[in-house]
Subunit: 391 residues, 4 copies
C-alpha cells in the first residue's frame, strides 16, 4: 500500500503550515463581514484584547495582514534605522536570515554566532554588548526552527535590558507552544503568528510592542508608512473606533479568534505541557531507536519541533518521501544549512498530543528500514510510551 | 425594530470585503496542508492554471500572499525604477493614491487627471504620451471604486501599446464582475484579487504579468527581492516542483480554488451579466427615486458598485448607520475626496443578483425617509424591477 | 436573465426546509464524536437543558432522531391507545392528516372541523368536549402550515385542561418563531423540531412531555418500545450517564446546539418580533398589491408563513417556477386541499428579517406580471416598508 | 497528563459513530435547500445514482431518513408478514436483536445460532432450509459488530437463492469497508448506512432492494405505509420529478454526496484494502502483545473493527476510560452479551489507515499496563508495522 503524492496525507506532523484545529477551520468559514461593519470592528478589538492576555506586551498587540515573514521584515525595517548598531544572535538559519532585513536601512550588523546545533549563551551576549556598548538593538530567534533549538530568551532579555538596547525576538514557532511572552522576557518587539502552535493556517502576524519600541519606530524616518511593511500604520487599528490602514484579512481574523478561544479555554500551561510531553516522548523514542537529535544537548531541544539527524547514507528528501508514500505522514525537512541533514517532526497545535509522537516514530522507523537503515521501532515506541505515562 | 451594532448584519452589500460565496467559506475550511506537501503543491499549480484561463496574461498568473493593496505596492516598486517616467491616469481616489508608490523609486510621475466623477479619455492619453514620449509606464485604475466609475481600459491599453510603454492596471474591483483581462486590454501588469467579484475574503493578490513586464522587473535593480514586496521571488512558485519564497496562505488558496471553480462553472459571461443587470436595476431605481448617481454619465457607471450622491442635508455616515440599524443592511462609504459625498452599493460576487438591488433601494429609501429626505420607494422598486424583467 | 433549475437559488423563502443560519451550518461541521464519548454525552445533556428553557415542559425535552413527521407519528401511537377517544381539531391539511396516526391504535376519533382558512374556536372545543365527556385526548395543529393560520393554542389548552383530557399539539412550524410553549398553553405533548423557525436542517424532533403524558404512555401497552417510533425508550437519554436507545444523529445535535445558542443569545422575544414584523410587512404589501391572503382574517395569519391566494387564471406551480426562474427565489406551494390555491412565503429563522418580505413581494409581483396578472409592486413595497418602519 | 471527560478526544477509533471525513463535514455545511427545489431534487437523484454504482441492487437504492436502526426495523416490518417463516441466522448480538422486529408481524422465527465468536456455516444454512422448506425469508447480519466477525454473505446468499427465499442482510458496518453488494451476494434487501465505513455522521439508511423484495413488500398488507417505517412510500422518491413522502434530511444528503464522491474517487478496492490492512496490522499487534481477539478464527475477523478480549481481572469499562483519560483515544465496548468481555477498535472511514492501528495498540497497551496487565508494546507495534510494510 502506497499513498500517491496527490492523495491527502493522513497525518501532517510538520513545523508549519500545521494541521489546523477543527474549530479554527469552522472559524475561517464564518460569515465574511465588511471590515468597517461595527460587528467586525468589535471582533477585531476583541481578538486583540484576547491576544493581549498572552502576548503580554506593554501596549496592545498589533496584527499584520500576512504570515510572520511579513512581521519579521516589517519589524526589521521599522525598528532599525541607519544609525543603529544591531547585535544579531545567530544560532541557526532563521536568525542568520534576519540579517539582510536588519541591514536594509544601512545599520551596522554585529553578529554573535554559535554552531547551528547550539544555542546562544547569555553570558556571551553580555560580553558582546560590553565590547560594543553602541549596540542599540539585539535580535534573537527564540526557536530557530530549522535546528529545533530553543534559545534562553528570558535570560538574554535580562542582559539586553541591562544594557539598554531594544530586544527584537522572533518567537514565531515557539509562541503558544511554550512559555514566551513580552513581559517575562523583556521583549520590545515580539514577532509571532497564529500559524504554528496556535493551530491556524498561515496569513497573519502578531506583534507585541513595548513603549520604547513604538517611540523608536516613530522616530525612525526610514520606518515604512503607507506600506504593507508599515507597523506604524496599524498602531491604533485594534480599536473598534479607528480605521484600518487597509483591508484586514477578515477570515483569518475569524480563524484566529477560534484559536485564541481554544487556547484560553484549555489554559496556556496545559497547552504547553502537552507540547513539551509530546516532544519529550519523541526524543526518548528516537534515542531508543539510535537516532540522535540535532540539538547538541537535549536541554535546549524544542518542545514544538524535534529535529532528528539524518543517518549516514540516507537521502533526507527520499526519507520524507518514503514516510509519506508508505504511511501518509508528512514531516518537515531542514532549511538552508540544515537541509538534508535533519528531518523535523512538528509538535504544534492539534498534533501536540503525545500519541502523535508514536505515529511519527513508527513512520520514521518504517521508512528508514525500507531504505536500509534498520532501527528498533519497538524500543522506540516503548520508550516514548514510558515518557508519556510518566508525563 | 433596530439592529444593534453588535448584531450580525442581514445583507452585506459592500464594495469589499464582500459577502463570500458559501462554497468559498467551505473551501476556507478545507484541511490545511503543509505547503511543501505534494498534494498542496499540486493544488497551488492547479489554482494558478485555472486563473490563467481568465487572467489571460502572457505568463502564468502570480499569487501574492496579501490582499491587493500588497499587489499594488509590489507592482509599483517592482516595475518602476528611478529612470522611469510614469503617466498616472487619475480619475479618483485610488488612482491618485497609486502615485506615492509609483514615485518611491525616484521615478518622475506625470499626472493626467479628470474630475473624480469622470473617466479618462483615451484620446487624452494619446495626447499626453505624445507630449511626453519618454513615458515608460502608464498606470490606470480600471474601476476607481470610491467613485464607482469604469475607465475604458481596452481603449487606453491600445494607446499605451502603440506608444510602447508598459501598462499597469489596478483591476481589483472590476475583475470577475465584468470583462477585463490582460489580453484584451494589452495589460502588462494586471493587479487584482479574489476578494471582490470572485466572492472570497481578502488575503490574496492575483497578478497577470506580460513577458515585457517580467523583463523590466528583472532588469530593475530596485525591484524588491527577499521581501514581502517581491514579485520576482514568486515567478516560478506556481510550479508544483518549485519552492515557495515563503509560506503561502494555504486556506486562502483553498478558498480561491472554490471561487474560481464557481466562476468557471457558471461561466464568466453569465457572471458578468448578472453583475451588470444588478447595477443597472440599481441605477434605474435610484433615478426613479430622484437620487443621482455619482458618475457624470451612466455609460461609465460601474457594474460592480453603484455610487449614489448623498442628498443635501444628509450626513452620509449617519445615513449608512441608519440603513444598518433599521434594516441590517451594510453599505460602503466613499473614500478620501468622495467620503461623505456618496454611498456605495456593492454588486460583487454572491450579491450581484438583481433582487439585491431592490434590497438596497428599499433600505436606502427607508433610511433617507427617516432622516427627513422622503423618496418614492415604490417608484424606485418598480423601475428596478422593470430593468430586471427586461434583462 | 433566467435561473436554471440546476442553479442554486438566491433566496430560499420557504416553509421548510428553510435556509439555515450560517452558525448552524458550522455547527453541523463540528467534529463527529462517538455517541458514548463523555464529551458527546455532556453535549447531549447540555442541549436538552437549553431546550428546556424554551420548551417549558414539566419534564426534560425529548429528542427523537428524525424530522418532526417522526415525532407526530410517534406521539400519536405512543399516547393513544385503543380505549381512547380523541378529539381532533381540524383547521387544515396537517391537522386532518394527523387522524390516521391517531386512529392506528383503534381509538375513536371525533372531529371538530372548520374551513381551512379559519381557525378553531375555543368555545367550540368546550362544546365538543361537553358533548363527548369521554374524550381523553385533544389534538391540535398550532400552525396549520398549508393554510398559514394560527390556532389559539393557549385558550384551547385552558379548555382542554378544564376538561381533563391530554392536550397533544403540533407546534412544528410555529415554535421558535412566536410564543408557544408547554407551560403557557397547558400542553401535555408538544411536538416540534429545529428545522423551521430555529433555522436548522430537517433531521430531529423536539418533544415536550408532561408528567401525565409520560404516565399515559407508560400505561399504554400499544406504545412502541424498541422501535424508531418509541418515545418511551428516550425518556432518560438526555442524561449524560444514561444510554441512548440507538445512535443519535450527532451532527444534527451539534447543529441544534448552535441554533439554540443563537436563539437564547438573541432572546426569544426579539426573535418572535422579527418574525411577526416580517409577516406583517408581507401581508401589508400583498394587500397593497391586491393579493388577498388565504386566512379569512388577518388576526390569525401566521407570523412564520404568509399564504397568499393564487389569482384567478394563474397556475400556482407555474407561478412558483417563474418566481424561481426569473429571480432565484424559492417559495412553497400549498399542500393537499390547498395545493394550487395558494403560495406560501416562509418567514422562518434567518429569513425572518423584514427586508425579505420586500424580496418576496417583488419576486411575486414580477412573476405575476410576467404571467399576465399585473400588480403594483411599488404600492406593495411601499406598504411593506411603512410597516417595517413602524415596527 | 490526563484528558478530562469534557476534553475533546484526540482519536476516535470507534465502531460508529465514527470520525467523519473532513470533506463530509464540509458537505454537511452546504447551503440547505428546500426539498422541492429543483436543485435539491436533482441532488437527491444524483446521490442515489452514485450509490447505485456501489450498492448494485436490481432497483435504485432507497434512502430512509434515519440511521440504519430505522432501516433494519423498516426492512423487517415491511418485508415480513404474518404468513412468513423467517430463518434468522444468529452469530451475535445484532443478529439476535433482529428477531423481535422480524416477529412483530406474527411470522414464525426459526433460529440458526452459533456462539458469538463464530460465524454462520453456509452448509448449516442449507441444512436448516432443507429441514424447513417453508422458510420464506432468511436474515443475516453480515458484520455482527459487537463480535467483530464477518459472516460469509456471498456463500450464504447462494444457498438462500437456491432455496428461493428472500435474503435480508444487515451490512451496516461492513458496507464501504469491504466487498459486499446486492449483486455479488444475491441480497434481496440490503440494509446499510453512510455512518460507518463511508465516514458520515449517523442519520440515514441506505437500502438496496431486489425486484422480488419490492413485490413482496407491496403484497404485504402489514407493510407500513404513511409511516416513518415505510419503505414503500420512498420507492420513487429518488426521481427528481417525484415527491418525497416527507421531508428528507437535506444536510445529511449533502454529507452523503461528499462521502460517495470520496469513495468513488479513491476507488472502492483501494478503500477496502486500507480497511483490511489496518485491521490486519491491528490483529498482528494484539497477537504480539498476547491479547487474543474475540473471533474464534482470524479468517473471519472483521476488516472494519477488531474485537479484543478483555484480559482476566480487567474491568473493560475502566480500561476504555483509562485509554481515553491517558491518551485521548476513544474505543468501543461490546454490546449485550459481549459487553465487558471485549473492546472494539474501529477501522472505519477516515481512521481505516494503517497507522491508526499503531495508535490503538499503543493506547491499549499503555492503559492495560496502568491497570496492572503489562504487555509488550514494542512487540505489538513492531508486529503491526511488519504487516503494514508487507501490505
Amino acid at each position: 500500500m502506497r499513498y500517491a503524492p496527490s492523495d491527502l496525507p493522513v497525518f501532517t506532523l510538520t513545523t508549519g503550515p500545521v494541521d489546523a484545529y477543527p474549530a479554527v477551520l469552522r472559524g475561517l468559514a464564518a460569515t465574511v463581514l465588511y471590515d468597517y461593519d461595527p460587528a467586525f470592528q468589535a471582533t477585531y478589538q476583541r481578538v486583540t484584547e484576547k491576544l493581549a492576555r498572552v502576548v503580554k506586551s506593554e501596549t496592545m498587540p498589533v496584527l499584520l495582514q500576512g504570515e510572520p515573514v511579513l512581521g519579521l521584515e516589517a519589524a526589521a525595517v521599522s525598528l532599525i534605522g541607519r544609525d543603529d548598531v544591531v547585535l544579531n544572535l545567530v544560532s541557526g538559519v532563521y536568525s542568520k536570515g534576519f540579517a539582510p532585513w536588519a541591514a536594509r536601512s544601512g545599520a551596522e550588523i554585529v553578529e554573535l554566532a554559535v554552531p547551528y546545533n547550539e544555542v546562544i549563551d547569555p553570558a556571551a551576549v553580555a560580553r558582546a554588548l560590553a565590547a560594543r556598548p553602541d549596540v542599540t538593538v539585539v535580535a534573537l530567534c527564540h526557536h530557530d526552527t530549522p535546528s529545533g533549538t530553543i534559545n534562553p530568551v528570558a535570560e538574554i532579555g535580562a542582559v539586553v535590558k541591562a544594557h539598554g538596547a531594544l530586544f527584537l525576538v522572533d518567537a514565531v514557532s515557539s509562541f503558544g507552544g511554550m512559555k514566551v511572552d513580552a513581559e517575562s522576557a523583556a521583549i520590545d518587539l515580539l514577532v509571532t503568528g497564529p500559524n504554528k502552535c496556535l493551530g491556524c493556517p498561515p496569513g497573519l502576524t502578531i506583534l507585541g510592542v513595548s513603549n520604547r519600541a513604538w517611540a523608536k519606530m516613530k522616530a525612525n524616518p526610514q520606518a515604512p508608512r503607507a506600506s504593507i511593511l508599515s507597523i506604524l500604520d496599524w498602531e491604533d487599528a485594534w480599536r473598534a473606533d479607528k480605521p484600518f490602514p487597509f483591508t484586514p484579512s477578515v477570515a483569518e481574523i475569524n480563524g484566529l479568534e477560534a484559536a485564541i478561544d481554544l487556547y484560553l479555554a484549555e489554559g496556556p500551561e496545559k497547552v504547553w505541557a502537552r507540547h513539551a510531553l509530546t516532544a519529550k516522548a519523541c526524543r526518548a523514542g528516537l534515542k531508543a531507536m539510535g537516532l540522535p537529535i540535532w540539538p547538541a544537548d537535549e536541554s535546549f531541544a524544542s518542545p514544538t519541533a524535534t529535529a532528528v539527524r539524518t543517518p549516514k547514507g540516507i537521502d533526507e528528501a527520499v526519507l520524507r518521501a518514503e514516510v509519506r508514500a508508505r504511511y501518509g505522514v508528512v514531516l518537515s525537512s531542514g532549511r538552508g544549512e540544515t537541509l538534508g541533514k535533519l528531518t523535523r517532526i512538528g509538535h504544534m497545535g492539534p498534533t501536540a498530543q503525545p500519541l502523535y509522537a508514536v505515529v511519527a516514530l513508527t513512520a520514521l522507523s518504517g521508512a528508514l528500514g525500507a531504505l536500509g537503515h534498520k532501527v528498533d521501532v519497538g524500543a522506540g515506541v516503548a520508550a516514548a510510551l514510558a515518557v508519556i505515562d510518566a508525563g
